[in-house]
Symmetry: C2
Subunit: 236 residues, 2 copies
DNA sequence: CGTCATATTGACTTTAGTCAATAGAAGTGG
DNA sequence: CCACTTCTATTGACTAAAGTCAATATGACG
């Protein structure tokens, strides 16, 4: 269950056997969500944090006029709301972008882990800091890049993150995001996302069909997006 | 020295006497920076984290073409790079927006604190989570709001944060940001910032002169920006 | 087969960016 | 204190990127 999480945290520092065991022994309440299902409600005060086990999820905020902004994407192994441990009420919602399996862990159980295993604490802090690094990169790209470049950059990020989670095969991976959702990630209208995707296709940078994204030449896409994966803190 | 920090962390949970004492006893290397001075270099691997004691600072990223995006603003009491404790190399730079006084604390000293005082650890995690909440709000506003609204929102945020740090007097506070810097915060061109500021002035929402921002009617500005301070987790 | 979500297209509008010039302010050296 | 430089703010004219509205396809699914 917690394999992905352990794999992810090991990118920060190798975990000792007892630390791995403690993570594996975390009491998970596993629940499946349909596409669109709300995993965490905005403004709630969760008593547990949720880890994505399968599928894709996203954090989002709704504005008074109904607009939506997606502020992060989660893949298997990511905590969708670890910060709810210390920060309540929670300032955003989390929903499943695809059918998703989620493991809910009580805050009590997480705290017990923190008290007992300082290295696990630091690894979880690293996970939170990594979230922050991705947020900063998104801010930068959203503020300073064109729609075409933003999408290219997003696809690069997903490619590397999915690869880190072992979800890339033959340069392609499942991407269950609609064009409206891509727009909500990048702060763009659906129409403009559509046109920018067509441009990326025309330029041979992506093949996107059947909820699957193929990147024929990741080097070319990286170049267009000026993508530097350093901020993802992957192992080399 | 650490008064602002203790005050800020107390917003999360009251600290015991020994915890306050431990924070006060942190060995700070104090250093002054001129306006524009770089406090943390992008890509470096700091051995210490830095706390802003006086002035204003910002985190920023530079893009290959020379564009700059400011990804957060710090006020007194904020750690500018607490995350460098766990996340190296650091993915952004930090510079002083005004003459600034900074306290540098060795990571070793912070770690000693973490091991000894679990509640301080949680308070620092809360500080990191708060950074994340502000980032998410910025992403949302940047993605979904006009320049006029973005600036209004930013000024509301600063008003409430500065007020929380006791820096607001008569509805005004020192704001040592140039229009170019405001543009780099919001992802706008300098020219467009200038015009949007004029519109805000024309509408009587702000008075900005001599590096001082006056907000005659914060309620009106809050309304225009659709600003909800909940994400700042201030005390009511 | 019909319904609903998603994707695509065209025509038009709006927002924001770019370029270039000018004006003001602040700081520096003599 | 003045001349000079440099940064910052402002303005106008023009361009480009992205949004809006509305219609039409396409596709998944009960």
């Amino acid at each position: 269950m917690t394999d992905y999480l352990i794999r992810k945290l090991s990118r920060y520092a190798p975990l000792a056997e007892d630390e791995r065991a403690a993570l594996s022994a975390l009491p998970l309440r596993v629940r499946d969500y349909p596409r669109g299902g709300v995993i965490v409600h905005q403004g709630s005060r969760p008593e547990e944090s949720s880890m994505l086990l399968e599928g894709i999820a996203f954090r989002y905020k709704l504005l008074p006029d109904g607009a939506r902004q997606i502020v992060s994407l989660q893949i298997p192994g990511d905590f969708v709301d670890l910060h709810s441990l210390v920060l309540k009420p929670i300032d955003h919602a989390v929903a499943a972008a695809s059918p998703a399996r989620v493991g809910h862990v009580s805050h009590q159980a997480v705290e017990a882990l923190l008290v007992r295993y300082p290295r696990v604490t630091r690894a979880l802090m690293w996970g939170m800091a990594l979230d922050g690094a991705i947020n900063r990169e998104w801010l930068t790209i959203m503020g300073r890049r064109s729609a075409y470049e933003q999408l290219a950059h997003l696809f690069c990020e997903l490619y590397f993150r999915m690869d880190g989670a072992g979800q890339v095969e033959d340069g392609s991976f499942r991407l269950e995001l609609t064009q409206a959702e891509l727009g909500d990630v990048c702060g763009l209208s659906t129409v403009h996302v559509n046109r920018s995707l067509q441009a990326l296709r025309r330029d041979g940078l992506i093949v996107l069909e059947n909820h699957r994204l193929s990147i024929p030449d990741i080097g070319a896409l990286v170049k267009v997006a000026e993508f530097d994966p350093a901020y993802l803190h992957l192992l080399e």
